[in-house]
């Protein structure tokens, strides 16, 4: 039984690490602060959440499980609120969302 649990936890760890890396990659490669926020908030939350859940699975002691669940709940609750606040203030201070503009050769159309 513990072998199965540890296998699931190992898979969750690798998946969570990959999602955290994908969030950082999206933060570097995307065009605009709003699109970057989309990458970092969603993938980042799921990445951290999966890593914390794998700790909850193999943690054992009840204090470890409780703290892990507290971290998970808090991150899932606060990441959308923080992203919403930054997005709203960025929009208010005049940053326009990125849109694909035609290049100079296309502009004659």
């Amino acid at each position: 039984m513990t072998g199965v649990l540890e296998g699931v936890a190992a898979v969750l760890l690798v998946l969570g690490g990959f999602l955290a890396f994908a969030a950082a990659l999206g933060l570097v490669r995307m065009q605009d602060v709003y699109i970057r926020m989309h990458a970092s908030t969603k993938a980042g939350t799921l990445g951290v959440g999966l890593i914390v859940l794998s700790l909850v699975l193999v943690g054992g002691e009840s204090s470890v499980v409780g703290k892990g669940l507290a971290i998970f709940a808090f991150i899932v609750l606060t990441a959308p609120i923080g992203a919403h606040l930054i997005g709203r203030s960025a929009y208010r201070c005049g940053i326009r969302p990125w849109s694909h503009r035609p290049s100079k050769e296309d502009s004659s159309r």
Binding site: L25, R36, E61
Partner: protein, 105 residues
């Protein structure tokens, strides 16, 4: 071996912890690149937010690998403080009068 493991972990968990630590370290480097380069202030705030989330994940990984539960307390506190910092920065961007000119640069 990136993190010094405790000795009663199975080889499966050791390999998974090492892979996840490698991914998170690469993510931290990429996020720092965006934090330094970010053309506007909201870009840097988003990068800082992801940086603290990745640090929470790394601290959790440390608690899992070493069995020292104090790392988990640090992760809880960091997750709490990161949200406060994000809210404060959003308020700061809203209120500061010169952010309008800075943001369009």
């Amino acid at each position: 071996m990136i993190i010094e493991h405790r000795h009663d972990l199975t080889w499966m968990m050791q390999v998974a912890i090492d892979i996840a630590a490698l991914f998170i370290i690469a993510g931290l480097v990429l996020t720092t690149v965006r934090l330094i380069r970010g053309p506007t202030l909201p870009d840097r705030v988003v990068a800082l937010d992801l940086l603290t989330m990745l640090l929470v994940a790394f601290l959790t990984l440390f608690a899992l690998a070493t069995g020292v539960n104090a790392y988990l307390d640090a992760a809880v506190v960091l997750a709490l403080v990161a949200f406060l910092a994000t809210v404060a920065f959003a308020r700061f961007i809203d209120r500061s009068p010169q952010s309008k000119e800075d943001a369009t640069k």
